[in-house]
Amino acid sequence: MPRTPPPLLGDIEQRVLLAILRLGPDASGVPIIHELRRHTRRPVLLPSVYLALRRLEAKRLIRSRLGEPEARRGGRARRHFALEAAGKAALRAARQSVFSLWRGVSLDES
């Protein structure tokens, strides 16, 4: 029985997944945005992050749960995100394809 290949990731999806991976149990909206800002030179647009989270959840690459209401958020709850196994597989596949593309070439030689 052939295994279904992990879904391909868009650029922002891959970044958001990596941010969730890096943050571990702390992964939620604002820390993800801060993490992306720290590692990206471009400004991070809020809608693109939420759209990516929506798509990743729809593709079942991540799961989410609501936390407790917090005063700093005006009494609103925080949504925590965690990687599913399929999400890890998708990241692995993405890294694999990048590595294999890089194999045997170097920017310095040309």
């Binding site: 809608p47 759209l51 700093r72 949504r79």
Partner: protein, 886 residues
Amino acid sequence: MTGPTRVTPPLAALWLLSRALPPDERDAVVGDVVELFADRVDGRRRFNRTWCWLQTAMLLLGLTGAGTARLPPDPFRRSFVMRIGGRFTLTFKQSARRLRYEWRYALGVIVILGVGIGPATAMLSIVQRVLLQPLAYQDPDRLGIVRINLGQIQNHPGLSPGEVIDLRHTQGLFAGVEAENRQYEVTLKTDDALVPLSAVSITTGMLPMLGVVPVLGRSFSEGDVKDQPDAVLLDYGTWRSRFGADPGLVGRRIVLSGNPVEVVGVLPAGFRLMTGRAVPKPIDVYMPMRVTSFRNFWGFPTLVRLAPGEPFDRVNATLPGLAASLVKAYPDAYSGARLQFLISPLKDDMVKTTRPALDAAIVGVLLLLAIAMANATALVIARLRTRERDFAIRLAVGAGRGSLVADVFMESALLSACGAILGAALGALGLEAARRLIPHTVPRWDDITLGGGVVLYAAALALAGLFTCGLLPLWKASRHVPWHALQSGSTRSGQADSALSRLLLAGAQIALTVVLAFSAIQLVRSATRLSEVDLGFDPNVLTFRTSIDFRKFKTPAEGTDLFERIRDRLRALPGIEAVGAISHLPLSGAVLTDAWTTDLSKQPGWDLSTANYYATVPGYFGSMKIPFRQGRDFSDVEDRTAQHVVIVDESLARAAFPGVADVTGRILRLGWGLPDSRIVGVVGHVRGIEVAREVRPQIYAPEGLFTLDQNFTVRASGDPARLIGPIQAAVKELNTGRAVAGFAMLTDNVAAATSTLRSVTGLVSILAGSAGLLSAMGLYAVIAYLLHARRRATAIRSALGATPSQLVRLHMRTTVRVLLVALPVGVGLAAAGAPLFASLTFGVAERDPASLIAAALTAVVASLAGTYVPVRQAAAIDPILALRSE
């Protein structure tokens, strides 16, 4: 947390966001925004609330629009706001995408709207500031200015002090009658320099009547009125620039023109005294003035505040009685002449001279705006016709009418928003350019600002654009039955009504272009005529002022001596060809008027003959290159000893001694109790009041006879600017105790005197050029569209052997027909509107036929240019290709 004053995010934004987002995302996203906001506040970042609104807008557009549906989609859970937001976003995106695809069309409409809106916004900002905004005084609509007619003197803005008192004594008409004297120069002595300041004296009730309270210190009181005033109020700007905004200055003494005076207060920032001048000159120092009962010198501009409930016309109706009684009571002062007081609202009086120019400019920009709107509407209609098939298909497959309307409306809204932004930018640039080009002859010109007003007007005009560009075509489109469009096929529209309405629009533009072109041509010709007027003098002289303190001298002759020493000292400077001096420079706006007669048995009367009176010195006529017709200049001895001699201009010589070849040696009697004077010379007439016409003849007396502050006139051989330093040093060496001020070229006066006409000419020429361009573009669009619709017919003609030149002639016929209708209409409108410009034109007939023909020709050239390109393209059609595409 930093305490109870903590900045909170805008609640409306959060509310909007939580309404629009699905419930399971609501808390997470809104909470994130609140948290990020708090992070920003803690990080002391700025514009946090703006940031919050921006994020809300982006999230609303990004998370609620099309293509963002979550999997699986659940339409029943979407809230109302979300659905509307989604629809809005979708329509917005689709319209933006369509316009980006058809960018030539979009750019065309935007540029046309911008060109129309730009000048209109700039002009409306000016009008709002100059004509509509009330003056910055308390209850300004009750303030009026008194002008008098006295015999030959008409509409004069100054009263004699006795009349000020008379007006004060009228019962129940006025809540206040206050006067100022003319502005004069004083010299502030600081530790290391003499600084020229401008001063004006006002009656003590003036500031309370205007409702102006000093920001520091107090207003004048009756106790401040003395023979030698020792209390002054300072202008706010002067207090800041000259005294470093020192709050301790109030109560201290400063030395003005050699006299120590006490600074009793500082007036509020932006205060200006507007009495009888369209553009008040900046005044540094205000002094208290005493009202005497003199009745021989009409030099005191007077403001009144009407008593509560008294309208201007009732007050004006009461004044003739007062005037008549005064003439009877003071026969010597008025010599039986007709005296009349006219009180008009202060603001009306101020904008009186500018109003015709502004009116003309407003008509011009509104015409241009109308042309632009007509053009943009025609383009939008043409494009809607090409989309008819698209609409029909959408209706057929079940699209709601509302969605089509929203579609068209959104496109128009986007186009007009972009047009408004372009228009606001053009308007701002135009205003800035106008501010640099036009000298300060327009009231409140300095206060006209860019920004809020311009943008507001642009938005309002864009809304108008939206209605014409969006709703009119929609109304037209909604009358079409969809299957009709489907049947007819997209390439064969050209229905008669649409073609006709578009030709009518094009014709209207051509007619309006004729109107604008006519105005522009008339004004350009006037400006040219005005620049060719012989002024009677050569204005290429450097001028400056200085005063001397006559109280220091035992006799006036000592002051005259000092002036003479200054002139001798200046003549010795290298690069100076001639030096003169005069009490009032030509075209400076300042003037003294006196009555005269040749009948030595009676006093000169105001009703008979008046002349402008100047006190001058030997050498003045030479320095100004004013020619002598008869006789000679004053001699130094005549000047110094104040002999009773005068020089008159040729107009006065003709009027006083008709038919006499040589008037030198004749005797002239003057008013003000001056001694009878012998004429020693006759000079050419000088256009001293207006460039356009001779106002009054001129009398020159030696300065020693009637000592006044002097304006020096210096003719230089090289660059006059290089002389300023040496002149200042030379005057300082003579230790007059007074500063030298107001260095300027007399050419500036000439430029200012003709500036209204020149600026209106420039503006209207630009408008006419834009109008010509726009109507050429409009005609181009219409003709191109019509020819496209008739492609088939053209192709068949071509296949049957018609030559391109025959086809060009054929198609040009449409334009010629439009012109045949539009030109007479345009010429008729131009002729009918000509009286609007009549007060601005000079030396050309009101409905000059040559200008009318030239305007019509301009429109013909623009129309033919707009037509020729598409016609040429259509004539070069390949019949095979054209017919195959059907």
